[in-house]
């Protein structure tokens, strides 16, 4: 038996939008090896049994093997152009592949996805041929966030009789895959807002559009705000007052101390998706949003506003372009990363005691803290008596953690990563999140 060509093929070069010249190593194909085995068996049996008709079995195979001679290219040029270099989870990226220099040989293209990417059925392979440059468009689906090469492209060439073949690999270009922002139904707004213009209705009066009340006219009031109906009733000039519209600082705190669950739906995956969804909503409301990673060391992105800040958040998650401080002590964070009076929305499985202690510390420092508990592993697996007892104790411990946080005024909501993230919007929860000790 001849050596397998697949075993000899290895990735050779990096992908590029400019054509890459790839040297080819031609080997005998699997089809040729089968024909060779058939011819050999026919000749051997003919000799052993002394029956000349068995030579006829070997005839076509030998003709196909030894008579066929054709020129084979020594190198080809391959270019792979991705349709995008940035995408969200679940989106597809198309790769436009151009192969030239194959000299009329058949070309097969096959995408091999790596971890974090999935093949798209029917769009992950193409076969073509021809004398000129051949083009094909293949596609991969990005399944998990991160910066990585989503796969490699296998380029296989066959001669016209499919007796010789060669395989070469091209690594695809790096792609940034961002976590898909979670859907959620509301945004928590603090009771006291910073003195910056925004979209949230404040308790103080100002120049907003939300009606706040009626008061007596004083010198300097604008004439257009006079409430003529109230003036007629009371006999003195009355003016309408409006609520001021303010913005708030929101810091998204992501607990990366423990990452549990199946790949693609771990606690950190859920945390990042939730944080991005919440961040998107607050940025749309003209709030300033920052990000803090709580892991072996703290990474942070100072609060900012606007569309550009959203892409900074994405980059901070995927690429890691963020400030950092050694250790995981929240008190070491600079004031810019955690502005006084900011609303802190933490995403955590609440498994690490240090993180729970950090939440308590933040609350005691008068931050409004809301915790979204993301624990992907389901319970109820315990079947034996002792297992059930252990699970019950564990559940009680978690309940105790939630209770202790609730006593401090920290609201804890649970989210499984699949449903719509429901943040507490009722008045009691809002007051709790914003209450000062």
């Amino acid at each position: 038996m001849l050596a397998s060509p697949e075993a000899e093929a290895r990735p050779r070069s990096l992908s590029s939008t400019v054509p890459l010249r790839l040297e080819l190593d031609w080997t005998v194909s699997r089809h040729a090896r089968r024909l060779f085995d058939l011819a050999l068996a026919g000749l051997a049996l003919a000799v052993v049994t002394r029956r000349p008709e068995l030579v006829a079995v070997a005839a076509p195979a030998l003709v196909l093997l030894f008579v066929w001679r054709g020129p084979r290219p020594r190198a080809i040029e391959v270019s792979v152009r991705p349709s995008a270099t940035r995408a969200y989870e679940g989106e597809q990226i198309a790769f436009e592949v151009t192969v030239s220099g194959q000299g009329g040989h058949a070309v097969e293209l096959l995408l091999h996805p790596t971890d974090g990417a999935q093949a798209v059925r029917g769009a992950d392979r193409a076969a073509t041929g021809g004398d000129g440059a051949v083009r094909a468009t293949l596609a991969l689906e990005l399944a998990r966030w991160g910066r990585r090469r989503p796969g490699s492209l296998e380029v296989s060439l066959w001669d016209r009789a499919r007796m010789f073949e060669c395989h070469t690999f091209v690594l695809l270009a790096e792609v940034d895959c961002y976590p898909l922002p979670a859907r959620h139904n509301a945004a928590v707004v603090r009771g006291r807002l910073a003195n910056r213009v925004g979209d949230h209705v404040s308790r103080s009066s100002g120049d907003g559009s939300e009606f706040a009340g009626v008061r007596e006219y004083v010198a300097g009031d604008r004439q257009r705000s006079i409430n003529w109906a109230a003036t007629t009733r009371r006999g003195r000039l009355q003016v309408n007052t409006f609520a001021a519209e303010r913005s708030q600082d929101v810091v998204l705190l992501v607990d990366a101390t423990s990452d549990i669950g199946e790949l693609g739906s771990t606690s950190v995956d859920h945390s990042l998706r939730g944080a991005l969804g919440v961040g998107r909503t607050y940025l749309d409301a003209r709030d300033r949003v920052g990000l803090v990673f709580f892991g072996a060391r703290m990474r942070w992105l100072a609060p900012g506003m606007g569309e550009r800040q959203f892409f900074r958040l994405l980059d901070a998650i995927v690429v890691g372009r963020a400030g950092w401080s050694s250790g995981n002590d929240i008190t070491r964070l600079p004031r810019a990363a955690l502005p006084p009076g900011a609303a802190v929305i933490a995403f955590s499985p609440l498994l690490d005691a240090r993180f729970v202690e950090t939440l308590r510390d933040l609350r005691q420092r008068s931050f409004a803290v809301l915790v979204v508990e993301v624990l992907p592993t389901g319970t109820g697996r315990a079947r034996r008596g002792l297992d059930r007892l252990a699970e019950r104790i564990w559940q009680m411990e978690r309940q105790a953690i939630r209770f202790s946080l609730g006593e401090l005024g920290v609201t804890v909501v649970r989210w499984d990563g699949a449903d719509v993230l429901a943040l507490p919007v009722d008045r009691r929860a809002r007051q709790g999140a914003g209450r000062r000790r």
Binding site: M1, R30, H31, R33, R34, L35, D37, L38, A41, G42, L45, A46, V47, T49, R50, R51, P52, E53, L54, V55, A56, V57, A58, A59, P60, A61, L62, V63, L64, F66, V67, W68, A106, E108, A119, R125, A126, A127, T128, G129, W158, R160, A161, R162
Partner: protein, 181 residues
Amino acid sequence: MRGTLTVVLLGAAATVWSAVPLGGTGWPGGLFVVIAALCVVAGLVRLILKDRVREEQGLFAGGLASLVDGADRLVQSLPWETGAAISVLVLETLHRSRPWHTGLLAVLLVCYLLAVNRAESAVPSAVFRGQARMLATSAALLVLVTGVAMVPSARTGALSGWLDILAALAAMAAGGLALPV
């Protein structure tokens, strides 16, 4: 799917063609029929499973998962089609000499291997038209060698069988050299 069906039909046809009549071949005949059938079926399974996306096994995969994975690797790695072709040839030799029957079997076997090649490739059919001329000439050569084998020999002496084989080989070589490929 049509390519896979063609492979199965050709494999079954070659097996049946070489097996009939099964009487007189003894237990080796039955054994090689079973081997050939098994190889055809295993080759079919290989073709069906070749495009399946394999999930990576965890470090502590279960026994059943390991067994399925091992069977999958076995099916993908062994040359089942070669085994089927050789089994069919051996089965044919268990019968008495019948040159035209063997010639037709050779056609079936070559078609079977070509169909396997077609089924395991995603290349469009147009690419295969390039070898049509060569296939036609090799078929002509097959007919020539079968014809030589059908020429009655004197069958005297110990070397007569060898001489017949040499004659067939010579006819094949001459035909091969004269091919306009």
